[in-house]
C-alpha cells in the first residue's frame, strides 16, 4: 500500500497568455484528509484541479496522485482520481444510467460495475430518474449525475470543484451528507467551495490561494486562531448608540440598539472601549464577544471578500 501523500503539488506554474494563473504553488494533501481549497474568484483553484485531472497542461512543476505523475503516469493517476467539474456539463444524447455506464466503460470497467452504479443512483437520489434523459433533469439533479460520473470508477481521491454552486440549501445538506460518508469510508476529499461555512464545518485542513499563490495552509483550528481580531457587540438602552470619534474607525456597523466594533486581539482593551462609550453617553446593557470566523480570516488574508 502506498503511504505517501494522496496529492502532491510541486512548484507548479501555469500561464494563460499574460495571466500567470499559478505561481509556484506547492503543497501536499495526505491520504484520508478532508481538504478545503479556498480563494476568491479567479484565484486559480479550478486551474489547479484541472491540471490534476489532465485538463490543463502545466508550464512547469509536477503533480502526482497517490505517487503517479499526472503527465507521465496519467493512466494510473486518472484511475485514482475522481473529478467533479465546476461547470454543469452533460451529454444531451443520453439518459442518466447510460451516462454513468459509459463513463465507467471509459475506465475499462465491465459488467461488475453495474451494482455499484445502482448503489450510486440510490445514494444520489437518482434511482427514479435512471432512465430520464439528461436534458429533462433539474440543475440539482444534473449536479448529482456529475458527482456520480466522478465516482463511477471508485476513485480513492475525489476532487469537487464548487459542487454546491447553484444548489438549494436542502440539497446542499444532502450532498454534504453523502460526501461525509465517502470520507468516512476512507476516500480523500478535496473541496473548493464558495460557502466558507461549509468549509469551516467539513474540512480538516484548508489551503487559501489568491492570485495564483498559496497564502495560507493550516488546520482549520490554527487558521481560525490566526484571526487577529474579534468583534465586540455592544447593546445599548437607546436606539442608534452614540460612538465617540476615537472609536470611529473600529466600527463595523451600527444597527438598532447594537454597535459592532472590530478589536485587535492584543492592542485594544475591552474595558477602555466600554469606558469611552459610556463617556460619550451610551448606556451599555449587554455585550458579546465573537471570535473571527473563516470568512474574516479569509478577508484578512486575501484582502477581499469572496464575492
Amino acid at each position: 500500500m502506498y503511504s505517501g501523500p494522496a496529492v502532491a503539488i510541486r512548484e507548479v506554474h501555469k500561464r494563460y497568455g499574460d495571466i500567470h494563473a499559478l505561481k509556484g504553488v506547492d503543497f501536499t494533501i495526505d491520504q484520508g484528509e478532508f481538504f478545503g481549497l479556498l480563494g476568491p474568484n479567479g484565484a486559480g483553484k479550478s486551474t489547479l484541479i484541472n491540471a490534476l485531472a489532465g485538463l490543463v497542461r502545466l508550464d512547469a512543476g509536477q503533480m502526482t496522485v497517490l505517487g503517479h505523475d499526472v503527465v507521465t503516469g496519467y493512466r494510473d493517476s486518472r484511475r485514482l482520481l475522481g473529478v467533479v467539474p465546476q461547470e454543469l456539463v452533460y451529454d444531451p444524447f443520453f439518459r442518466v444510467r447510460e451516462t454513468l455506464r459509459f463513463q465507467a466503460g471509459y475506465f475499462g470497467l465491465g459488467r461488475e460495475v453495474e451494482t455499484w452504479i445502482d448503489e450510486l443512483l440510490d445514494a444520489l437520489n437518482l434511482a427514479d430518474r435512471a432512465t430520464a434523459n439528461m436534458r429533462a433533469l433539474s440543475g440539482g439533479m444534473k449536479r448529482r449525475v456529475l458527482i456520480g460520473q466522478a465516482l463511477v470508477h471508485k476513485p480513492p481521491v475525489v476532487v469537487l470543484d464548487e459542487p454546491t454552486a447553484g444548489v438549494d440549501v436542502e440539497l446542499r445538506q444532502q450532498l454534504w451528507g453523502f460526501i461525509r460518508r465517502l470520507h468516512a469510508e476512507g476516500h480523500t476529499i478535496v473541496l473548493t467551495t464558495h460557502y466558507l461555512e461549509d468549509a469551516e464545518e467539513l474540512c480538516d485542513r484548508i489551503a487559501i490561494v489568491d492570485h495564483g499563490e498559496l497564502v495560507a495552509l493550516d488546520t482549520k483550528r490554527d487558521l481560525l486562531a490566526r484571526g487577529i481580531s474579534r468583534t465586540l457587540h455592544v447593546y445599548s438602552e437607546q436606539k442608534a448608540p452614540k460612538v465617540p470619534d476615537k472609536l470611529r474607525d473600529k466600527v463595523k456597523r451600527i444597527h438598532d440598539y447594537c454597535v459592532e466594533l472590530r478589536l485587535e486581539r492584543d492592542r485594544d482593551s475591552i474595558v477602555e472601549v466600554l469606558d469611552a462609550l459610556r463617556d460619550a453617553g451610551t448606556r451599555v446593557c449587554d455585550l458579546r464577544v465573537e471570535d473571527d470566523d473563516l470568512e474574516d480570516v479569509f478577508v484578512q488574508l486575501t484582502g477581499r471578500s469572496r464575492q
Binding site: 494563460y16 484541472n50 485531472a53 489532465g54 485538463l55 490543463v56 497542461r57 496519467y74 493512466r75 494510473d76 486518472r78 484511475r79 482520481l81 473529478v83 467539474p85 461547470e87 456539463v89 452533460y90 451529454d91 444531451p92 444524447f93 443520453f94 447510460e98 459509459f102 463513463q103 466503460g105 471509459y106 475506465f107 475499462g108 465491465g110 460520473q149
Partner: protein, 251 residues
C-alpha cells in the same frame, strides 16, 4: 472491454439514437439525386463503354454519402462535446490519444459504411449494378470513410463554433465531393478540368470505388489506392498530433 471500445460504442449509439437524421435522411437524399439525375441525364452523358448512366451514378453517390457522413459523425460529435463541455469526462478518462483517435474514427466509419450500404441496398432495386471486385469495393469504402472520419476529427478539434465547422463542411467537403466525378466521368471534361480534378483527393476515392463495380476507371486503381492511403496516413498523423498535444482540447 477496454475504455476505447466503450468510447467507440458510445459514439455508435449516439448516431443510432437519431438514425432518422443520421442514417435515413442521407440515404433518401442520395436516392433523390439518383432519381433526378438518372432521369434527366440518362443517354446524354457519355461515361464508360457499355455502362448505363444510372448504374454509373450509383457508386459515385454511395461514396459521396460515405464521405459526407463519416466526416459529419466525428466532427459533429467532437464540436458538440466541446461546446457543451461534456468532453471533460472523456478527457479525464485514462485513454491515450491513439485510443481516442481510434474510437472516434471507427464509429464515424461505421456510420459512413452503414449509410453507403443503405444507398446500395435501395438502389439495386432500381437498377442492376455489377460487382467486379467486392474486395476493391470494401477496401475503398473503408479507406474513404477512414480518410473523412479522420478529417472530421481534425475539423472537430479545430473548430470552436458550429459555424466554423459548417464553413469547413460547405466550402471544403461539399465542393470537393461534388466535383470529384460523382455525376460524370472526368474523361468527358475539357483537358484543363481533367488536370484540376486530378488534384482533388476525393476523385481517387470515387474512381477507385467505381473500379470495384465496373472494372474500369479513369486512372489506374493502384494509383487511387496509393493516393488515398497516403492521404489517410498524413491526416492521421496530424489528428494524432493534435490529440497527443491536447491542441484546443487541454488548455
Amino acid at each position: 472491454m477496454g475504455g476505447a471500445w466503450w468510447l467507440f460504442y458510445k459514439e455508435v449509439i449516439r448516431f443510432f439514437k437519431v438514425a432518422f437524421q443520421t442514417v435515413l435522411a442521407p440515404v433518401i437524399t442520395a436516392l433523390l439525386y439518383l432519381l433526378v439525375f438518372s432521369h434527366v441525364l440518362e443517354g446524354r452523358v457519355r461515361v464508360f463503354e457499355d455502362v448505363p448512366y444510372t448504374a454509373f451514378l450509383i457508386p459515385g453517390l454511395m461514396m459521396m454519402t460515405i464521405i459526407q457522413n463519416a466526416f459529419a459523425n466525428s466532427s459533429s460529435s467532437l464540436i458538440q462535446s466541446k461546446v457543451t463541455g461534456n468532453i471533460v469526462f472523456i478527457l479525464i478518462a485514462p485513454l491515450s490519444h491513439l485510443e481516442l483517435f481510434t474510437a472516434y474514427v471507427a464509429a464515424a466509419m461505421v456510420r459512413g459504411v452503414v449509410v453507403g450500404g443503405g444507398v446500395f441496398l435501395l438502389a439495386v432495386w432500381y437498377v442492376n449494378v455489377p460487382i467486379y471486385s467486392l474486395a476493391v469495393i470494401l477496401g475503398f469504402a473503408v479507406l474513404g470513410s477512414a480518410v473523412l472520419a479522420t478529417l472530421g476529427v481534425i475539423a472537430g478539434i479545430w473548430a470552436e463554433k458550429f459555424d466554423q465547422l459548417a464553413a469547413f463542411q460547405n466550402f471544403i467537403i461539399m465542393p470537393l465531393s461534388f466535383l470529384s466525378g460523382v455525376f460524370y466521368s472526368i474523361q468527358s471534361l475539357p483537358p484543363l478540368w481533367q488536370t484540376v480534378s486530378h488534384l482533388n483527393p476525393f476523385f481517387y476515392l470515387i474512381d477507385g470505388f467505381r473500379y470495384g463495380f465496373f472494372g474500369a476507371s479513369d486512372v489506374p486503381v493502384v494509383l487511387s489506392f496509393a493516393v488515398t492511403l497516403l492521404a489517410l496516413l498524413m491526416l492521421a498523423l496530424l489528428a494524432l498530433w493534435m490529440l497527443g498535444h491536447g491542441y484546443k482540447l487541454r488548455q
